[in-house]
Amino acid sequence: MNTMNPTVTSETGAGVVEDKVAPVKEERPAEAELEEGVTVGTPYSDDPKFKLRNVEVFYGESRAIKNISLDIARNEVIAFIGPSGCGKSTFLRCLNRMNDSIDICKVKGSLQLDDNDIYDPSRDVVELRARVGMVFQKPNPFPKSIYDNVAYGPRIHGLANRKSDLDDIVENSLRKAGLWNEVKDRLDATATGMSGGQQQRLCIARTIAVSPEVVLMDEPCSALDPIATAKVEELIAELSESYTIVIVTHSMQQAARVSHRTAYFHLGHLVEVNETNKVFTSPEHNMTESYITGRFG
């Protein structure tokens, strides 16, 4: 995996999480090379869904996100990449305030969804999360039936008035997640009995059953085998037609395969944002280049 080529669609994409080359670790550039608040490439957009300015995240005393500004465009797929601990997951979790449950976590700066501030105290987090759904690293189906898993969101939000409406939502969501044909005969079976890939697609179906506008994905394939990964990636491509998708990934090939734009994070800085093609063929920043060519990470 030393010679990173973005056009290579290796099936081992899911497995590269721990794929590091130890001896070249010393080449990891010092933080001094990074200039705070400076991002090379094209971080801004004309039609932003999210408008994020000067975002900083603190865990107690330590600063996990350092002055990041970024636009996420409507119906685009943007991938966040970077070495472990670079803050990409933390940043992602700011977008639907999943960091709220961590007491010591504080978010500063301006984060807007459709020109409304996400962290406005009067802003309702339940409504926000109904609009901005999230899929997690490890598939986390509830220990209920497949049907109840998908129906859970619509039920709590009161999105269906009749049983038949709910049935429609469940079927549609499962169809969109490409799971309908596999599970239509066993909707009452418990979800924990499914394979890992099916579970993750069920979680995606569960998320889109609420009809969100944005889907956040936090390394959705890291716990899956290559075949399941391929299916989920296919699904992401289909979903990108109607949803804004933000995906955090450890696999550069995955970023290359599914995303329109790619953002490279390093030690809490947003180093570079560019068209995915550009990032993997001619990165502007030398650190992005070091990372994608596998000199550290």
């Binding site: 999943m98 997690f136 986390n140 220990p143």
Partner: protein
């Protein structure tokens, strides 16, 4: 010599044996060129000597202490002339206590029959003889053991292996005490229960609806038979336990939920130990509280609203017992709720569920098996609880579901039947063991199921 004095003596001999063997092992090693040439360190030769000295002596001492009293008693009773020889076990226990009281000078010798005086003399002699014999034998065995070990201090013998093997067996014996205890419990209750069923048919005991164990002292007394139907005790126990669980389960469960999902770190650090204090309060204190504060209060309130409440109501005992088991329910629920993986919480919250919705629809169902296990353990504790009901519930075996009435429980009856004057071998005394057996079986089944459920639940998320 008294066992209490003999015990330190054996230990002293063991220490001497240790010291002697230690010195000898060094002197044996000297001509060979130091302790390097011994198979084991001097410490092990010495420890082996101490073990050889102490273990056989202590086993003998324990066996003697356990059986001495019984053997001597039988010898004394069988020595009694035919005209005073006891006809029934009840009489026997009376005569034995008379004899031993005379022997110990607690009873005036002029006020007992001649034969008892003779027996008392015999008892004193036998006790003295037994004591002397025991002392000699124990010291002899201790010294012989030490001497043998002393001769075995030889460079080619690996004393460490001996010592370690012995220790291992000792450790095993300690672990086996758990089995012995269970066996002891089963044997304790089973023999007397079988004898009880010889006097009272098992069907009457299990299905009879009347409980009044007062057997008559004279045969011509009215109602001399006594009734031994355990149904009223069983329903009384269930009534009080049910009230207790009605208090403890909602309060304990909601406390656990609040503490694990809502409370701040500091609030948790303060409230949790306070809740656990409720479990540390001795049951006799709860009994005191129930009998002297809660029961009169309930009777007063019931009187005020025109109801008739007994001074010893099931409600008072049940409420206080409920308070006692709150911490059992809350700490077990807290454990199982915390065992539900965080990612299920995140999954639900990310869909826009509120915390309460997440709790009710996702976490609670996931934790339910574990919580059920915890409730079963709490129920088993409520059924077996004794002091609260002894002090606050009554003795009247009413077959009722009215919580303001007085009911009695299995544990209350065991205590009542076995304290105070006992008649050996009477159906009354034996009934207590039969009740004990029932209690043991019911709580055992509850515990086994509950522990199994909780373990399975843990494995699911590990």
């Amino acid at each position: 010599m008294q066992t209490a004095n003999l015990l330190p003596l054996v230990l002293v001999i063991a220490v001497v044996a240790y010291a002697l063997a230690y010195t000898r092992s060094r002197s044996v090693a000297e001509p060979l060129g130091g302790i390097r040439n011994l198979k084991a360190l001097p410490f092990y030769y010495a420890a082996r000597a101490a073990l050889w000295c102490a273990i056989p002596a202590l086993i003998l001492l324990g066996a003697w202490a356990a059986f001495e009293g019984k053997v001597i008693q039988n010898m004394v009773v069988s020595s009694l002339p035919a005209e005073v020889a006891p006809q029934s076990p009840g009489e026997a226990s009376l005569i034995v206590s008379q004899i031993s009281n005379v022997a110990e000078g607690k009873l005036d010798p002029t006020r007992v029959p001649e034969a008892v005086l003779g027996a008392a003399d015999l008892l004193q002699n036998l006790r003295a003889e037994s004591s002397n014999f025991k002392t000699t034998l124990v010291i002899l065995i201790a010294v012989l053991g030490s001497a043998f070990a002393w001769t075995r201090v030889q460079p080619h013998i690996n004393a460490r292996e001996n010592v370690e093997r012995t220790l291992r067996w000792l450790f095993f014996a300690c672990a086996a005490v758990a089995i012995l205890t269970t066996v002891g419990i089963v044997l304790s209750v089973i023999f007397e229960t079988v004898r009880f069923f010889g006097k009272v048919p098992i069907t009457e005991f299990l299905f009879g609806t009347s409980w009044s164990p007062q057997t008559a002292l004279r045969a011509d007394q009215v109602g001399s038979d006594g009734a031994f139907g355990m149904i009223p005790l069983f329903t009384g126990t269930l009534l009080i336990s049910a009230i207790a669980l009605l208090v403890a389960v909602p309060v304990g469960l909601m406390s656990a939920i609040y503490l694990s999902e809502y409370a701040s770190k500091r609030g948790r650090a303060i409230i949790k130990p306070l809740l656990e204090m409720l479990a540390g309060v001795p049951t006799v204190v709860y009994g005191f509280f129930a009998a002297l504060t809660v029961a009169p209060f309930i009777a007063g309130v019931a009187d005020m609203i025109g109801l008739n409440a007994s001074v010893q109501s099931a409600l008072a005992a049940g409420l206080v017992m409920g308070v006692m088991i709150i911490p059992f329910v809350s700490s077990l629920s807290d454990d199982v709720i915390n065992a539900v993986p965080q990612n299920l919480r995140d999954g639900s919250l990310a869909l826009g569920a509120t915390q309460a919705e997440t709790m009710k629809n996702v976490i609670f169902p996931a934790a339910l098996p574990g919580i059920m296990g915890g409730i079963m353990l709490a129920a088993s504790r409520a059924i077996g609880e004794t002091m609260i009901v002894v002090m606050a519930a009554g003795l009247a075996a009413n077959l009722t579901a009215n919580p303001l009435d007085s009911v009695t429980t299995v544990t209350v009856q065991i205590v009542t039947l076995l304290t105070g004057d006992q008649e050996f071998d009477s159906a009354k005394t034996l009934a207590a063991f039969a009740l004990g057996m029932m209690l043991f079986i019911v709580t055992l089944i509850l515990n086994i199921i509950a522990l199994h459920v909780v373990r399975k639940y843990r494995e699911q998320y590990d």
